[in-house]
Subunit: 284 residues, 4 copies
Amino acid sequence: MNATAILLIDCPDRRGLVAAVADFLYRHNANILHADQHQDNEQGLFLMRVEWDLAGFDLSLEEFRRQFARIADQFQMRWRLELSALRPKVAIFVSQYDHCIVDLLYRQQSGELACDIPLIISNHNTAERIAEFYQIPFHLIPITKENKAESEAQQQELLRDKAVDLIVLARYMQILSPHFVDQYPQRIINVHHSFLPAFMGAKPYHRAFERGVKLIGATSHYVTSELDEGPIIEQDVMRVSHRDQLDDLIQKGRDLEKVVLSRAVRWHIDHRILVYNKKTVIFD
Amino acid sequence: MNATAILLIDCPDRRGLVAAVADFLYRHNANILHADQHQDNEQGLFLMRVEWDLAGFDLSLEEFRRQFARIADQFQMRWRLELSALRPKVAIFVSQYDHCIVDLLYRQQSGELACDIPLIISNHNTAERIAEFYQIPFHLIPITKENKAESEAQQQELLRDKAVDLIVLARYMQILSPHFVDQYPQRIINVHHSFLPAFMGAKPYHRAFERGVKLIGATSHYVTSELDEGPIIEQDVMRVSHRDQLDDLIQKGRDLEKVVLSRAVRWHIDHRILVYNKKTVIFD
Amino acid sequence: MNATAILLIDCPDRRGLVAAVADFLYRHNANILHADQHQDNEQGLFLMRVEWDLAGFDLSLEEFRRQFARIADQFQMRWRLELSALRPKVAIFVSQYDHCIVDLLYRQQSGELACDIPLIISNHNTAERIAEFYQIPFHLIPITKENKAESEAQQQELLRDKAVDLIVLARYMQILSPHFVDQYPQRIINVHHSFLPAFMGAKPYHRAFERGVKLIGATSHYVTSELDEGPIIEQDVMRVSHRDQLDDLIQKGRDLEKVVLSRAVRWHIDHRILVYNKKTVIFD
Amino acid sequence: MNATAILLIDCPDRRGLVAAVADFLYRHNANILHADQHQDNEQGLFLMRVEWDLAGFDLSLEEFRRQFARIADQFQMRWRLELSALRPKVAIFVSQYDHCIVDLLYRQQSGELACDIPLIISNHNTAERIAEFYQIPFHLIPITKENKAESEAQQQELLRDKAVDLIVLARYMQILSPHFVDQYPQRIINVHHSFLPAFMGAKPYHRAFERGVKLIGATSHYVTSELDEGPIIEQDVMRVSHRDQLDDLIQKGRDLEKVVLSRAVRWHIDHRILVYNKKTVIFD
């Protein structure tokens, strides 16, 4: 697979936008592999993702940035350029439930997730052995009420040290402080074990069981300073019945959590997600 | 199809329960067609549904009631006996959206719903033509803030007059008074156009759209005096994406509402539902 | 809603394609509402659907055709232009099972299907009453082994007479002759009551029941001269269990058939489908 | 959790059956935890699964077998008694694709699968490291056309040696000989990477891709001497679109294969499956 570039754009919708972008890429000999766009006609917004093969492309990245800036200014674009050759660095945070991290590590190692995982941070040692199996540095940082600020400082130093691009909360049962969250806007993905906005907050399976729902769900979303209110990336559900006790819900839910979280991570890594209006666009 | 009897039981779980019921039915020559039971071991509850062919059964219904009462007393059963030959009488309430009522009427007429529909009540005339097509009496009872009590009295008189067993709110957009609801415990089925408990109350599609969910849902439930809090009978969901505007959600949701409501009505009519702990058991 | 134009293109993938189309539309002041494209990199194919508001567009359709032909030639495009103002004329064929036609007629009347239905053709009279309810001409044309050619001739005359654009086989249980099919390439949609290619041919529910599948399905597809081999437009499935008897499969399947067929009809009518390599692209 | 006994019965349906079984269990002080039954009225068959707590049960297993035989004879039952305390011994066969075995090993270790896994057999060494991680003996037995009989003999000796109860083919790409299969009736579970009976045999994803299906599936089933024709245990599907290339189908399908196979293994281990008429009953 050749190295590719990915351009992500959002801006007010205006005539000539696509023509300007397509013409620019054509003049510089881009071989477009995928392009997807979304227009929110109600809000007058235009969002685009275009990916091209860098072989034959006649601009260096620096030149691209300089030259494309003119078009971007003209159309008031927010934009960014990503390179498939730069594998994102992903940190995984985990507590005691290890099904999601076990799943993510396998997917990364098997090539399904095109990222590097330079570190795992946990407040328990449950995931230590599997981290070792995949030869990923494991950092045990216990959290107590007293040491929370200090522990977060320690976590952030590790993240900076490894130049981490994305944090994945793989059933990490601690709430990150707003200060922490603010440093990683749209770069922290969490999985919540309910179909949001149903059962926000603690013990969603218990509450689903008590309510007698006929489907249970899981949701992956970007973390914001408002708990369980961040932009939703993916959701899925599974049928349950009166025969399912609380333990069955928890067990069935694990399969949902794995799928919903791993899809979110893959789409983020593949630069398929744009956030606007507290919602996500997932480009095909 | 022969006439059948359906016995529904719930009681504290105790040894000898199944033996006692099975032995009683055997001694009276019941040819059992379906039996399903559920034990909630945590709560120590036992629930059962058994259906048998009345051909060859050697007790009249009166005798059954008298003789079975002894077993029922011994095991502290709540129980009821239903007869397939007695088709439940169902009233449909509807407002302006007519997709659910159109669907229900077709299903009834095609034999999928083994009930009679002696009347339709509406605060709009939208459904009048289709009621006429299926030759079902249609009662237009407009509701205003001022006439609400009076209108409900009028509705209830019609229901009593037709000896209605079940009320189906097929996108009926008025809230029934607690007084009304109390007269029909577990005999009013509503469809709510969200995946409860998400988006309880008004305008669920609008709020789902704003929240940016990736699946929309619908829920059928028994109506209690607490809005959207009654025992859930059935739920289903459908995938949506950022491309779906509010109108698309509303349109896609219609297919969910029809399916979720009609299943609930069928299960109720077939005497497959028991309520306990604010939840439903749906017997197979 | 303003009148819109929809341009559908497929051609060999080449650099400059999008730029040429986008530039052309921009120069003529098109306000693009939706655009979606698909590249099959393996086959080197490019497919596109673009829809724009005709208000402000500075070309007449005739001029469009003349001027766009230059671009089309240059890139060896197959293309067509559709107008939202021209509602497609749809004929529905039906036999005895009427659930699909009842569903389609309601969807058309409620505005979900932006088409006209100038006639219904059937070899049984089951659907006659519902046709009358919706005031659609109903033609009873019985089919026997002996009169098949003659009956088809009669059907085709009716279709020509009404200038029908699309034929929908809504559980029409007769096999159209190859001669008939050839006259309506990609303009006949059928629903098959199985998850194709499983259970092609006759009695799919019977065979699904015998095989003991755990999900049943339905498939809508374009009709070609090879039975059940045409390009698949949509499929869906529903869970069944050992408790479901053949009748249950048939009943549950009806809900699948309706949904799968109506989606296919809507996408066709909205000019969202392109066929290539015996497969369909469904533009968003 | 206390030790439990599970009784599985199938026999011709007759009055008095449930009464006889329930009365027998009651007289011996069985505390029934779960009971489920299925009647196939068409075929006149009765199938039952009942599970009870062994605490307080007043028969030894030997006595149970002797005394229950009388009832069994009377009703011509095929029956077996299983004990939750006896964890089934499961052998996993695998080739190069390791996602299913990685998934199964995690589920076993986390307690979701109540079995022991005394050995893994493979014709490749891909799974060797993960076997070691979970400390399970790994046997590399390469298969060639020439050594097939010999290799199978070697496999069977290992299976006998470990007294294996169930063989799970976790994407094992070799076809077992009829002789092998016959020794393990209803004790070999395979996962086929399609929605059977669609795409039986080789390369199902390739064929699904070529056919242009809109959903892909996976199927777990008991292995019989007819390839891909054994009784289906579980199936599931996932939506795909024209954007999904062959590689995407293969990747998405992996998640289906894992779920569908692990459910089948769990149900088998929990003694929830009865086979009749080449179909499975899955007791709740």
